[in-house]
């Protein structure tokens, strides 16, 4: 035990000797979280609209005012004909053009159905889909209002179905509530797997790993001693990130903090195991970084459901995602934060993650034994 303590102490000393690294490990996650917290919003607000008003009547101005008053749209300019909107869409100064035909006001007045043309820049397909949805519901609501106004005047009931939408877990539809718990999972992976892999490969490069091998340290002591400091850093990161998420971004933590902490430990076991494994298949730090970034971290981030929903992916890739520990941890953090779930719901994810960690650590230890014999 004393030998182990010495080794852990040595690792911490080494970390302290490189103050820049220390700063990167503690400060970087905070910066990243703040940036991600504000930037990672898929909400579409203030869509810039250019209006081609061919009517210029009180009725057309009422419609334009409705668009401008909605928080979803901002009217950037009004032109007279649809031919003038090209330049706006090409430059990207407007995403949507609304064309009000000549005679619109007269049609509304005489109760003749009239249709508006909406031209949208499809480049950003996601935002465009959302913006078109907003435009459709804005115009539908307006049409509904016109119908009920007329119905009230004539005393006729309007048939149809009323829809009541209820949004669970995140009623204001803040994309932040979805992204920020995910950032916790992402940062832990980025910090621990990389640092652990490079920390070990560096000793290999410098040749000091040989020296450690000839000391009376047992193999498990060596591995635990090398990994423990990174584990401690990771847990500090968990506390920091959770604090910022809850107190700064006001993401609701509906479940148990201790469960979150305990399962984060299991997850860190996985990421450190991954780091160790990468170190056994790399000879230089450059190789370790490249291997870690390209073959493990990037695929894991994109295919884990962090940003892109897994259910949208092709079937084959969906099966492949079962191999990614981040996938399970994302369900866990989001479940604990947003849904307030306990272990009764989350045990399958926790079990899968534990199994993954044990297997990877086992593989890494087996490989490192064979190599240094």
């Amino acid at each position: 035990m004393r030998r182990l303590r010495r080794l852990v102490w040595k690792e911490f000393l080494e970390l302290r000797q490189d103050p820049r690294l220390f700063v990167l490990v503690i400060i970087a996650p905070i910066i990243q979280l703040t940036m991600l917290g504000y930037a990672a919003t898929t909400d579409v607000r203030d869509v810039p609209v250019v209006v081609a008003d061919g009517d210029r009547s009180p009725a057309s101005r009422e419609l334009i005012a409705r668009f401008d008053a909605s928080r979803n749209f901002t009217v950037v300019d009004t032109v007279t004909s649809l031919n003038d909107v090209d330049a706006y869409l090409q430059r990207g100064t407007a995403w949507v053009a609304l064309a009000i035909p000549t005679g619109y006001g007269a049609a509304i007045h005489s109760e003749t159905p009239v249709s508006l043309q909406v031209v949208a820049d499809g480049t950003d397909s996601n935002s465009t889909t959302v913006a078109l949805g907003y435009a459709t519901s804005l115009v539908n609501d307006y049409a509904q209002e016109l119908v009920s106004r007329r119905a009230a005047a004539t005393g006729v009931r309007v048939p149809g179905i009323d829809l009541r939408l209820r949004i669970w877990f995140n009623p204001q539809l803040e994309s932040r509530y979805f992204m920020i718990p995910g950032v916790l999972a992402l940062l832990l992976l980025l910090v621990t797997a990389n640092l652990a892999a490079m920390g070990i490969v560096r000793e290999k490069e410098l040749g000091t790993l040989e020296q450690l091998n000839v000391t009376p340290l047992r193999r498990w002591e060596l591995i635990v001693g090398k990994l423990l400091p990174y584990g401690v850093i990771a847990l500090i990161d968990v506390l920091l990130v959770t604090a910022v998420a809850v107190f700064w971004f006001e993401v609701p933590l509906r479940g148990s903090f201790w469960l979150l902490f305990a399962l984060s430990l299991v997850y860190v076991l996985c990421t450190l195991g991954l780091g160790l494994f990468i170190s056994t298949i790399s000879d230089t730090q450059q190789q370790a970084m490249m291997t870690a970034t390209f073959f493990f971290l990037t695929p894991m981030i994109y295919l884990s459901g962090f940003i892109f929903p897994i259910e949208n992916m092709p079937r084959v890739i969906q099966y492949a995602t079962y191999l990614i520990p981040l996938r399970y941890f994302l369900v866990i953090v989001r479940g604990i934060f947003l849904k307030g779930l306990g272990l009764a719901w989350l045990w399958p994810q926790a079990a899968a993650m534990t199994a993954w960690g044990v297997i990877v650590l086992g593989l890494a230890v087996a490989r490192s034994r064979k190599r240094t014999g």
């Binding site: 820049r20 690294l21 990167l24 970087a28 910066i31 990243q32 504000y38 930037a39 990672a40 898929t42 607000r45 090409q90 509304i108 109760e111 159905p113 009239v114 508006l116 031209v119 499809g122 480049t123 950003d124 397909s125 465009t128 889909t129 949805g133 459709t136 539908n140 307006y142 049409a143 309007v158 048939p159 179905i161 009323d162 829809l163 009541r164 939408l165 209820r166 995140n170 539809l173 994309s175 509530y177 979805f178 640092l195 490079m198 560096r202 730090q285 450059q286 970084m289 490249m290 970034t293 990037t298 994109y302 892109f308 929903p309 259910e311 949208n312 092709p314 890739i317 479940g335 849904k339």
Partner: protein, 370 residues
């Protein structure tokens, strides 16, 4: 004279890169592989939304409404449930993303013109998906209501006729692929050069270079040209792969594309060299490279998250993210076919970025070499 010295450094660097086969392979082929993987895997096109149905009415009309949901192609009916507790369970487990609740007497009320109320419950954890699901549900319920009342409902007084330019099928792949190109280029270019000088520092060979009669300028040029060529090759591979596999159109001018890509790569290489002169160990260089290239390009460039939805302070920050300009230029050239004159501001910004990074890097390098 400068040319010959730069050539010598270039040859040395190339030899060093060639010796490390794995790194070279990663730099050239992995980007194309990434594009393949992510191009297929990543999209926002929401289909097959898992729907739980609680039909308390059980008449022909209620079944017609359920059928309207399923036949829309957006919803998959995954479960029929009896009670709100079941819905709770299915949403907690993510087995269902939405639930449709049809009340008793739905059919009778509908016929009597009493406007029955159906409930759609949506898992809102992913706000983006939820918004889309909301839109689908609203339009299905509206048109189903109209269909069940054929003849009685009149055309609405105002309606919308959407037309979509540049990407009429709204395929998210066309939007994401240019972003992936920027992202992959940024990472490979910045990281590979960020490490190149630090590695010489760590192994001590920088001393030998310092002794050699090479001026800073030749050293930098020689050091970065191999990476420039590798990045350009890899960019070409990515673009062709995207055209072949994902039907990425090329509506603009090839020369403007080459100009935009070259400027972007030059800036990224400069940024990598700058990091390389500031960092002492590869670990630090790598973390700094990740922090300054990986995250801003992913988060603040408009690659995935629309810049106009960000808070104003953060929008200001995005003006220093080079990928922001590169993406506007890339999407403009490839998807919209806009003439180069329209993109002048973006290209100017990229030029400033490249010059600033290379100048800063050479100043620092000159100071370091004493």
């Amino acid at each position: 004279m400068i040319g010959r010295k730069a050539l010598a450094v270039y040859r040395k660097e190339l030899r060093q890169i060639a010796r490390d086969r794995r790194t070279l392979l990663i730099l050239v082929f992995v980007p194309a592989f990434f594009l393949l993987l992510y191009g297929y895997a990543l999209n926002w096109d929401i289909r097959h939304i898992a729907l739980a149905v609680e039909d308390r009415d059980g008449t022909g009309d209620s079944r017609a409404l359920v059928a309207a949901f399923v036949n829309s192609g957006y919803f998959d009916r995954v479960a029929d449930v009896q009670s709100p507790a079941d819905i709770d369970r299915l949403l907690n487990l993510n087995t269902a993303r939405a639930a449709l609740v049809i009340p008793e007497n739905f059919g009778r009320d509908l016929v009597n013109g009493l406007r029955p109320q159906v409930q759609v419950i949506i898992n809102g954890d992913n706000a983006n998906t939820a918004t889309t699901v909301m839109g689908y549900a609203a339009s299905i319920v509206q048109s189903a209501g109209a269909a069940l009342f054929e003849g009685q409902l009149r055309e609405p007084p105002v309606s919308i006729e959407p037309r979509i330019w540049y990407n009429p099928e709204l395929r998210s792949t066309l939007f994401l692929v240019p972003g992936l190109i920027a992202y992959i280029l940024m990472i490979t270019a910045v990281i590979s050069t960020a490490i190149s000088i630090v590695r010489e520092k760590e192994s001590g060979t920088i001393e030998q270079v310092r002794m050699a009669p090479i001026d800073t300028f030749s050293f930098m040029v020689g050091k970065s040209i191999p990476y420039f060529l590798i990045s350009l090759t890899s960019a070409a591979l990515i673009v062709f792969a995207a055209m072949l596999l994902f039907g990425l159109p090329m509506r603009g001018n090839w020369i403007s594309l080459l100009v935009a890509v070259s400027l972007f790569i030059a800036g990224a290489l400069g940024q990598g060299l700058l990091i390389s002169t500031a960092a002492e160990t590869q670990q630090v260089a790598f973390q700094a490279a990740m922090l300054s290239s990986f995250l801003p390009t992913l988060m603040l460039s408009g690659f995935i998250f629309p810049i106009s939805s960000m808070p104003t302070a953060l929008q200001l920050v995005t003006y220093v993210v080079p990928a922001r300009y590169f993406l506007v230029a890339l999407r403009g050239i490839v998807l919209k076919g806009v003439p180069i004159a329209v993109l002048a501001p973006q290209l100017a910004a990229l030029t400033v970025y490249a010059l600033a990074m290379l100048a800063l890097a050479s100043v620092r390098l000159a100071r370091e070499r004493g």
